[in-house]
Symmetry: C2
Subunit: 247 residues, 2 copies
DNA sequence: GACCTTTGTGTCAAAAATACACTTTGCGAA
DNA sequence: TTCGCAAAGTGTATTTTTGACACAAAGGTC
């Protein structure tokens, strides 16, 4: 727009999103595959981009996420600001920035966000506007672009904390789910084993689950009871405050 | 420096610090008194300012804090980013910005930080480099400049959460303190009453306090036992993880 | 020495956490 | 058809933690 000199004077601000999904087995994160400029191999990054001049941060995060993945209007929670002056200075990051940014040398402070979505509700459309967003199991994620690994770790930490303050994670499951699935979800997020009986007892005592008549079908073992999440009771409890929630 | 046009193109970044102090009775926050431009009355703000071009965020927060209050090299924890496009648009805020900023119209995204200090360790120097930093009891704080009230509320919330995950707050007390003082501190932060006997039982069971031989002197009632905080044991516990900490 | 103020202490009942093993159900393979 | 496999589902006994509660002790002041 104006001369480049001035673009280097002031920092830019971006938003990066850590989207957690659960495939009833493992915890996944939605990542963007980017081609390295040299074209050797791809490398992975969180969906994120610069914010607009007059855009609230949360709005920007949602817009950027939508542009890159197609996900719409999700509740995003802030992880924090990441602003190390050389967070963009790894060689392949520099190369990518030079290829796509008007002012690749500008400092960028990014605001990290995270959210949970059900993996069933969202299947990345590989070749469309969702450029190359893919679910990657969290244990298989190694290094990421920029300081995205750090943002991811921060988001996971917040997610764990949150899970111990209020029961969340229903977003990550289909509408009807089994207690075992919920159990696996908790174990996946917290990264520990939880006793089956104790988990069930505690979860049911909260009284935010409704058991359905329906049961699993076609499984080669005893079919599991389906439950659904009772939003009404959940919100009532949110007001009075949860009391026994930590696992 | 350059023409004003360009200054308006990109956002600025600032750091604002919420410093909690405890006077053995009430929880206080360190605020800057500013004269309104019209000179009618003062109004209060968190210590904060723009960050430098190549400065890490945490470093900037500490520098700014030091410049405005004299406090040095404190561990600051991030509250989050606050970036509403019209967070600077209250009339008196605009007036102040016009008086002191080169580009008063630039958007500013701020990163909030918080910390705890012992009020004994730090007495604001009214007329010196610490321009007009003063401790204000937290219940007496009303509206603040910009969105600082919101930042303060966010910081307090984080502080409460943190207090329920690990025993902190020893920074807020003198080196030797009594259990009653610690008790009052917890009540001040959490904003609730805690049973004296249960509080003591639980706190002592954590085994991070050492009772000293020394007792209070000159008080018109039964003198209280002094304790000190055992950092060694605390750090050992930090690794293994606290287990019973919430009040 | 009477009074005031704050410290410091113990118990009991209720609730919650933890550890732990076997039966049930339905499918698929022999 | 039956045998085996895999996951679901269920109960109890023990220990730990919480929460409620009241009175004696110490030291200064008047």
């Amino acid at each position: 727009m104006h001369d480049k000199m001035n673009h280097e004077l002031n920092p830019r601000i971006s938003a990066d999103c850590v989207i957690f999904g659960f495939d009833l087995n493992k915890l996944n994160v939605l990542l963007i595959e980017r081609e390295t400029v040299v074209g050797l191999d791809t490398y992975k990054a969180l969906p994120g981009d610069l914010i607009f001049e007059d855009e609230p941060l949360d709005t920007a995060a949602n817009r950027v996420l939508n542009e890159l993945t197609g996900l719409e209007d999700i509740f995003l929670e802030q992880v924090g600001a990441f602003g190390d002056p050389d967070r963009l200075s790894k060689p392949q990051d520099r190369a990518w920035l030079k290829a796509v940014r008007q002012d690749p040398d500008a400092r960028v402070v990014t605001i990290g966000y995270y959210s949970l979505v059900g993996m069933n509700n969202y299947v990345p459309q590989p070749a469309s506007f969702a450029r190359a967003a893919t679910w990657i199991p969290i244990e298989e994620i190694g290094e990421l672009a920029f300081d995205h690994r750090q943002i991811l770790d921060g988001a996971l930490k917040k997610l764990k904390e949150k899970l111990n303050v209020q029961p969340i994670g229903f977003n990550l499951l289909p509408e009807k789910f089994t207690l075992s699935q919920l159990h696996r979800l908790y174990e996946a997020i917290l990264g520990v084993e939880l006793d089956k009986r104790n988990f069930r007892r505690k979860m049911l005592k909260m009284d935010i689950l409704e058991s359905l008549e329906e049961r699993q079908e076609g499984v080669p073992h005893k079919p599991s009871q389906f439950y659904k999440f009772n939003e009404q009771k959940y919100h009532d409890l949110l007001k009075t405050g949860f009391d026994n929630f930590a696992f």
